[in-house]
Symmetry: C2
Subunit: 314 residues, 2 copies
């Protein structure tokens, strides 16, 4: 299929992952009785499907099939301050193109009317050779931890959820320690270890077969403290916790690698692993495989994607 007036766009959007099965649309095979066979259906609960539904509301209706190409995969429950995709649109009127602000408004109206936790940010016309996944220079992830301020020796002492501000529910990981704080100095040592190019085999899923190279480059890795003001002005539950964010920036990551890096950092912060152990996981690739707890998706945000704007933006 070819259209004279096909325009490609780079689209930036944000979402909360809690009620979605990830960004990518999944196809599901359902047994059917009629043919004693199976049929393949697209799962409704992905960000991709919601984006495509929203773009199908464009008026006048585009002449081509709406299909977005996501730049950065995120799992079920993972949030994004920014993710991106490319989309080609063929305007039905010769010589006409869709205005970016019209695309933004149409999509956000659809999301609000359908109670979706997705916001369209910005639409940028790009060269037809542009591919969102390929032209991304880096991805930055942030993991939010809510450190409970009082010493808790076992999780049965106190129900951690009962201490969490309601605004932070499913948006951070509540963490407790016998000391009532994490060993930040040691966590910062581990952050420094991660920076640079390493074989991250130890930070691979032991279950999932993945034959891609396991060498990855980490550009930045650091801890950030959110000031101890009330983040929601009125919720006294913010007094119970300190919010710490772990920031990790790299070109690309292995499946669940960011979360395993966070898991290692938390384990060191709690004193369950030593800095030396994490160093050996990196230096002897695979030695730590399966030894790191994967924290839940709730606290994870894809926070930024950098693009090379040279030549491909129009």
């Amino acid at each position: 299929m070819s259209f004279e007036n096909l325009q490609k766009y780079l689209i930036f959007f944000s979402y909360l992952g809690k009620h979605y099965k990830g960004v990518q649309s999944q196809t599901r095979r359902i047994p059917t009785f009629e043919t004693i066979g199976v049929k393949t259906v697209k799962e409704d609960k992905s960000i991709q499907i919601q984006l495509e539904k929203a773009f199908n509301r464009l008026l006048p209706k585009p002449k081509n099939e709406i299909k977005v190409g996501i730049s950065s995969r995120t799992d079920a429950g993972v949030n994004a301050l920014i993710n991106s995709c490319q989309l080609s649109l063929a305007h039905p009127i010769e010589g006409c193109y869709y205005i970016p602000s019209h695309i933004v408004k149409t999509a956000n109206d659809y999301f609000l009317n359908h109670n979706q936790s997705i916001i369209l940010r910005r639409v940028v016309p790009v060269h037809h050779m542009f591919v969102a996944v390929l032209h991304a220079l880096s991805r930055t992830y942030v993991y939010r931890i809510a450190v409970v301020k009082k010493p808790i020796h076992s999780k049965t002492d106190v129900d951690l959820t009962s201490l969490l501000p309601i605004d932070e529910l499913y948006r951070c990981l509540p963490v407790c320690s016998p000391q009532g704080y994490l060993d930040i100095a040691k966590m910062q040592e581990v952050c420094d270890l991660f920076i640079g190019t390493h074989d991250f085999t130890s930070f691979r899923s032991p279950q999932i077969r993945d034959t891609r190279p396991s060498e990855r480059t980490i550009y930045e890795c650091f801890l950030r403290f959110i000031p101890d003001t009330y983040l929601n002005g009125c919720d006294p539950a913010y007094k119970n916790i300190d919010i710490i964010e772990i920031v990790i920036k790299g070109k690309s990551f292995l499946y669940n690698q960011v979360r395993r890096m966070v898991g290692a950092l938390i384990a060191v912060g709690k004193g369950k692993n030593t800095v030396e152990e994490i160093r050996s996981f990196l230096h002897e690739p695979g030695s730590g495989k399966g030894k790191i707890i994967v924290p839940p998706p709730d606290g994870l945000y894809l926070a930024n994607i950098e693009y090379d704007t040279n030549g491909l933006y129009i």
Copy 2:
């Protein structure tokens, strides 16, 4: 039904209202074909039903029917940092009572496992004469407004949603004005007008028949500015907005009264109403009825309930 070892509890809990049809369980009448009649079912999407489901998980199973009495009604979409209810529990073992921390843990485990946006905070044993709705001394509401920092002349200029941090979606009201700010001094004048005892007929719903007295006492009414730090440490969208919270404290309120008070404050802030107009709405009860826009529930939080702890706590 009477039980020897029936213990009454005052229970505090928080929730996000977006995916619920309000705090109170609604019964719905469904036509049935079998009897050409109707049957009454309890709606599943209320906070009350979720609380009752959670308490039904208590082990050992209570001997009495689980029925909570909510202290403060909130509409669909309204959030609560704190709401409260009373609950009586008859332990099946003679002379035994449920330990508060066990009730908290059981409920929060249920909510997390069922993706509910509810947190149980605290359980306090109370005298059997205690009634949560009656013994509340005051209720404090907070309404969050996200003021878009740049001048916007009409909503078609810019899609307001596209400027909102994803963490604030459905948790505040995005507001724009031709000046790019609200007239805070005039809003503060209106806050002062509201304080004290007034006939709030002008702030009543014109649709709903309600014969209760319309005189209400406002203890506190003020604006609060959330410091211009990144509330979520990493989301640059916080640069687009100023968060202002309107705090309103009273003993009790008419249906939608708080939201109409907020609507009046915003209208004055934008220059759509004068302080004098709002004053006349108060001084000539009913003169403003139907003239105030009711802002959406998303930004509204029930923030506190005060109790008289004298004698009724045990």
